[in-house]
């Protein structure tokens, strides 16, 4: 199967500049530097690269919304979102650990395309090992004269999931509480310190060296319509071989599960969370669904950041929904009332059901509560609060009813 990002992951010293360069490293950057910035963006547009941090927005189109330097003079920034915190996602951690130069090369390509003289890698504070790996790789790149057109600096977060949302990330970088901003303006127009800023995910930027080296068309050809290239799934849960698996965009759920060895021995598939715990689960009937940002929507869920959690028959939907809603309640930033209150109430109802004290009204109440949060907050965390409880209720009503003494009535 075609690999782009993990192609050389059997090379033990891939994290070192010398090895990376021997394996075509920094050829994409060299190519980009011979091109005009607009030509680089055109190549990325042609590639159908989508934002792999979860939103799936076409990367070239995002770049296209940055005002040109002659219209809006002054600094502009590229910021790497390495704040991976969605439960189920760990691919950025592995990508940075194994191939830091792949990310740095992509970042330097983006900086050239966007005219950014300063770039930042914002990394979650818990990834200190990866911070150290990046520090060494940046030092190597500086010493090799690869960063003449743009500097790279690092900044660490302090444990808040919401910092992974682009505008909240920028607030964190500005030394504030990680409260998402209400767009417009979008960061590409007014981002870090009010300057045009592109925030791209680790995996997205890591794709750029291939796109520049081999061409946007070659990248687009690997994926599915409007979804270029590959995607790296983080697979965990009730699966034989948890780990990261890179597959072409549009691969079936069945194929990804097969890569990870399938459901653990002696057990039966219950459902699969495809993109991180915020995403509603896929069911057995969805095994032949093609996984890309567009086709997955047919099953009422999202590709997210590819954090795939496999659940077998031992997982109870009430417990699973509770675990996820508890996480969201803890990580709600508190700015929007429907999310701040709705998440806590959702957890309270689920805990009542779990303790055996549930009442039949709890089921319609969870649904109504979900409806009252979704679409009513600044960022998508609120949508998730409303989406998760309803998704498990809808797919596994029996799990809820059997734990509510008079549940069969509802």
């Amino acid at each position: 199967m075609t690999k782009i990002l993990t192609k050389h992951f059997d090379e033990p010293k891939l994290h070192e500049l010398e090895t990376y360069r021997r394996l075509d490293g920094y050829k994409g950057l060299a190519k980009a530097l011979t091109m005009a910035p607009a030509e680089v963006t055109a190549e990325v547009l042609k590639s159908n690269l989508r934002g792999l941090g979860g939103a799936g927005f076409p990367t070239g189109a995002k770049w296209g919304t940055v005002p040109p330097v002659d219209k809006v003079p002054g600094p502009r920034y590229v910021v790497v979102n390495c704040d991976e915190s969605e439960p189920g996602c760990f691919k950025d951690r592995v990508l940075v650990t194994r191939a830091p130069h792949q990310l740095i090369e992509g970042l330097l390509i983006a900086a050239h395309a966007l005219g950014a003289k300063e770039t930042y890698i914002f990394i979650r504070g818990e990834y200190q090992n990866q911070y150290d790996v990046l520090r060494r790789a940046i030092d190597e790149a500086n010493a090799a004269g690869l960063t003449k057109h743009a500097s790279i600096d690092l900044m660490r977060g302090a444990g808040a999931y919401i910092s992974g949302l682009d505008t909240a990330l920028l607030e964190t970088m500005e030394g504030k509480k990680a409260w998402p901003r209400q767009p417009p303006p979008f960061p590409t127009v007014a981002g870090l310190m009010g300057k045009p800023t592109v925030v791209n995910n680790v995996e997205t930027l890591s794709m750029l060296p291939f796109i520049l080296r081999e061409g946007g068309e070659a990248f687009a050809k690997i994926g599915s319509p409007k979804n270029g290239g590959t995607v790296v799934f983080s697979v965990s849960g009730h699966v034989r071989n948890p780990g990261i698996y890179e597959v072409p965009m549009g691969s079936t759920l069945r194929a990804v599960l097969a890569e990870a060895g399938g459901v653990r021995e002696g057990h039966k598939l219950k459902c699969v969370i495809p993109g991180g715990t915020s995403m509603p689960p896929l069911m057995e009937k969805d095994l032949d669904l093609k996984l890309d940002f567009d086709q997955i929507r047919a099953a009422g869920t999202f590709l997210g950041a590819g954090g795939m959690i496999v659940l077998d028959e031992t997982a109870d939907a009430v417990d699973v929904a509770h675990n996820i809603e508890r996480f969201l309640a803890h990580e709600s930033c508190g700015q929007c009332t429907p999310c701040r209150e709705g998440a806590v109430w959702t957890v309270e109802i689920l805990e009542r059901v779990m303790s055996g004290g549930g009442v039949s009204e709890d089921i319609p109440n969870l649904t109504r509560l979900g409806e009252n949060v979704t679409g009513k907050t600044i960022c998508a965390l609120g949508d998730t609060v409303g989406m998760v409880s309803r998704a498990y209720l809808q797919r596994f009503p029996e799990d809820f009813k059997k734990r509510i003494p008079d549940g069969q009535k509802s």
Binding site: G88, E126, A158, E174, H330
Partner: protein, 164 residues
């Protein structure tokens, strides 16, 4: 308390003062160094007190409540004293599926303290943490900056004995 701490009463050593000042100069705007500066304070004092925040506010030229708001927002910053080994147990979905409840029981019993409480010798504290990004090694522990995967009772016993 208000931002009345004076330089003579700084809770930081001269070297630490210097490092905090350096964070005001690292990035294009001084405020951009604030979260990193507070990370340093948390490392040094194993918590952030109001006196700490007041001095950081002075160094950054910000109101005390502006800095205290940030210090009390982020989960990495604590007002309670953490152990020299601050143990975080991931209880995200994959870690919970793999037995984070059992790991929590082992932590409580092996370290002999409730969550967010320092052992009498100051060596350990433990707390539940949100997803540590190590779902393939579930359940995961973070001991200061070090990740420990597959944290069962035996791994936690080894951690207590200083063998892990």
């Amino acid at each position: 308390m208000s931002a009345t701490a004076t330089k003579s009463k700084t809770p930081f050593t001269p070297e630490q003062e210097k490092e905090l000042v350096a964070w005001t100069k690292r990035y294009p705007h001084s405020n951009m160094g604030l979260v990193e500066a507070l990370r340093a304070v948390q490392d040094w004092h194993r918590r952030i007190t109001e006196a700490d925040a007041a001095r950081v506010a002075e160094i950054f030229g910000l109101p005390f409540n502006r800095v205290w708001g940030v210090a009390t927002f982020f989960p990495s910053f604590t007002q309670w004293q953490t152990g020299r080994k601050r143990v975080g147990l991931c209880h995200g979905l994959s870690c919970w599926l793999a037995g984070s409840d059992a790991a929590e029981k082992a932590l409580r019993e092996t370290l002999g303290v409730p969550e967010k409480t320092c052992t009498a010798d100051g060596e350990f504290s433990w707390e539940a943490m949100e997803c540590l990004g190590a779902c393939e090694q579930a359940p995961a522990l973070l001991v200061n900056d070090r990740l420990i995967g597959r944290a069962d009772a035996a791994a936690i016993a080894a951690l207590k004995k200083g063998k892990k």
